[in-house]
């Protein structure tokens, strides 16, 4: 059996709300194998994004254990190589053009070289934006921005791609195209994918599907 790419055990997270604390996650367990795709659905406020942030190492659980490839090191420098993230609101840097936004992920690892620039161009070609690589985010449509964000997330060849409602700001047709792209690229590069979505159709396309309900993942 191959080593687990990502392993979460009994993750718990609560947030203060007035005098009391609201328990969002009540012991989440999740294992992910290499190249696997997982979808997580749930109602608004069910804690999907919170779980994704914990899995990305952006936030710490109140209790529980998270490991990436068996290691508990989920710090910033490791995150740059291990995890790629795609957000509902794209989060492109407005001062940088599409190519510079993609290369920004690589800059986190050190100075750019020719190979990095070549990879950024290849990724932009793969997401169908080779001709628009020098356009600023403000000159791109919502779908195009999300495709740039996908290319950026894959720039450092991460082991896991975490997508938080990546179609939330897109129309149905563009959303379909972005999901197609995400699943296709992850399958081609054997990148693990965790997709948080409201859409049952998109969720169904993952190899394993979960529902986050009352702070627990249900298979």
């Amino acid at each position: 059996m191959s080593e687990l790419l990502l392993s979460a055990r009994a993750l718990r997270k609560a947030y203060p709300s007035g005098d009391r604390r609201i328990e969002v996650l009540r012991g989440v367990d999740l294992d992910m194998a290499d190249g696997e795709s997982i979808s997580i659905r749930g109602e608004s406020g069910s804690g999907k994004s919170t779980l994704l942030h914990l899995l990305a190492g952006l936030d710490r659980p109140d209790s529980g254990h998270l490991a990436w490839e068996g290691s508990a090191d989920t710090g910033a420098s490791r995150r740059a190589r291990f995890v790629g993230m795609v957000f509902q609101a794209f989060y492109l840097i407005p001062e940088l053009d599409a190519r510079q936004n993609v290369l920004m992920a690589r800059r986190m690892l050190g100075p750019l070289d020719g190979a990095a620039r070549e990879r950024a161009d290849q990724l932009l070609a793969k997401v169908g934006l080779a001709e628009r690589s020098h356009h600023l985010p403000s000159q791109l449509s919502g779908g195009e921005r999300q495709r740039v964000a996908v290319a950026r997330a894959l720039m450092n060849s991460p082991r896991v791609l975490l997508a938080d409602e990546p179609t939330g700001n897109l129309d149905e047709r563009t959303g379909d195209a972005v999901i197609e792209l995400l699943l296709g690229l992850c399958a081609d590069t054997r990148t693990g994918l965790i997709l948080v979505t409201h859409n049952a159709g998109y969720a169904a396309r993952a190899s394993r599907r979960f529902l986050l309900h009352l702070g627990v993942l249900q298979g």
Partner: protein, 420 residues
């Protein structure tokens, strides 16, 4: 280039887009402060430089005096002139007199000079505004401009000079009549005290007026321009000490050389204090610019909250996020300081045209020349002053970036990503 420097520069100066308003305002505010400091300090430096030059012209580079009189001026001059770096010497005697012209009295200081040697030490002709130095003989006198104006005397006028010797003789029941001298020339140095009450006569006449028999009050010394006056004064003192020990000079109480800086120490201190105060006060302009930069950077941090969350998601550490915003403060400081220096020097280049335009509009050109004795605005940019301005502007801009940088670094990435 590290990503935080790259992003800081891109956010300040994005390529292919207009300069952001934020950058423009911050850079401009620092530039105005730095430009103002450069202009004020350089103009003050120019005035100060001119004053120093005039002081050296009036007192020489080094002055040798005794507690009372120098009784062997020729021997002393011979000793001083052998010191390496000394170009020329001239003796002088000084005191107070009463001058009367057409029943208008004045009480100026009087200076007796050696007309054959004085030009080697002082560029006296440079300051003459009427008459000729060559016309000065034992029956002549040179008046300072304001004194001549207050007496109503002109070149050729005959003035009466009363000395303390007349009073001394009266006490002994002797009568000595005042000396009548002809105004040979009128000078103006541009120094209020000198121009308002100074008269110059020949050394012989001065010695006669004061009853001196060959004694003088001191020796003025001109030295090579590439030598420090303080060090040369020390060398002259050493030479005088040696000459007194080996008998070439008789011991004279208090005989010592002082540089022009030591002679005018109090005045130079006031000038320096004035300049330092101006620097201190004007630095507040840069401080205000730094506060503006800080407040705009704080707004930028709030505006970029979600990007800060994104940078964390991409693998940025808190230290790197802080550096990204702190470097924007540094970038503003560098751009603002460079622009301010350019602005200041452009003003410096065209200063006389600007002053001419201003004075012609207000009709005050003659007034300015009369009060400041400068037909052109003096300018002297001291590298040390510029260094202080550059360092202060860069330091304050960097400090202005630190608080927004710390706020950005302390942001929780998850909350930043959720920021609306």
């Amino acid at each position: 280039m590290p990503w935080y420097l790259y992003l800081a520069l891109k956010q300040l100066f994005p390529s292919g887009r207009r300069l952001p308003f934020f950058t423009l305002i911050c850079v401009l505010s620092v530039a105005l402060g730095v430009g103002l400091l450069v202009v004020v300090l350089s103009v003050m430096g120019g005035f100060s430089f001119e004053l120093h030059r005039k002081m050296m012209d009036v007192t020489g580079d080094v002055q040798v005096r005794a507690s009372d009189f120098v009784r062997e001026p020729a021997a002393l001059q011979a000793v001083i002139e052998k010191v390496p770096g000394v170009l020329a010497t001239t003796p002088f005697a000084e005191g107070y007199v009463m001058i009367d012209f057409e029943r208008r009295p004045a009480f100026p200081t009087i200076e007796g000079i050696d007309t054959t040697r004085v030009r080697r030490v002082f560029p006296i002709d440079r300051y003459l505004i009427a008459g000729s130095f060559d016309a000065l003989d034992d029956d002549g006198v040179i008046l300072s401009s304001q004194l001549a104006a207050s007496l109503g005397a002109r070149v050729g006028s005959r003035v009466e000079v009363y000395t303390p010797l007349i009073v001394e003789k009266l006490k002994a029941d002797e009568v000595e009549l005042p000396t009548e001298l002809t105004v040979a020339a009128i000078f103006e140095v541009g120094h209020q005290q000198l121009d308002s009450s100074t008269v110059v006569v020949t050394l012989r006449r001065m010695q006669q007026l004061y009853g001196l028999s060959g004694e003088v009050h001191g020796i003025n010394v001109r030295i090579s321009p590439d030598i420090d006056a303080d060090q040369e004064a020390d060398r002259i003192n050493a030479a005088i000490g040696l000459a007194q020990r080996d008998g070439r000079l008789k011991p004279a109480p208090g005989l010592a050389a002082k540089s022009w800086k030591q002679v005018n120490r109090d005045f130079l201190w006031v000038l320096q204090l004035e300049k330092n105060m101006m620097l201190f006060i004007l630095l507040f302009v840069v401080l205000v610019a730094a506060f503006l930069t800080m407040s705009l950077l704080l707004v930028l941090v709030l505006k970029k909250t979600r990007e800060i969350g994104l940078l964390s998601a991409l693998g940025a550490s808190r230290r790197q996020v802080a550096l990204c915003f702190c470097l924007q403060g540094v970038g503003i400081g560098v751009a603002g300081t460079a622009s301010g220096l350019a602005l200041g020097f452009v003003f410096g280049h065209f200063r006389n045209d600007l002053v001419r335009l201003l004075t012609s509009l207000t009709g005050s050109q003659q007034l300015m020349e009369r009060f400041y004795q400068f037909s052109q605005l003096p300018w002297h940019a001291d590298p040390k002053d510029l260094g202080i301005v550059v360092f202060s502007a860069l330091a304050l801009s960097t400090l202005a970036g630190i608080i927004p940088a710390l706020i950005a670094a302390r942001m929780n990435p998850v909350e930043a990503l959720r920021h609306e």
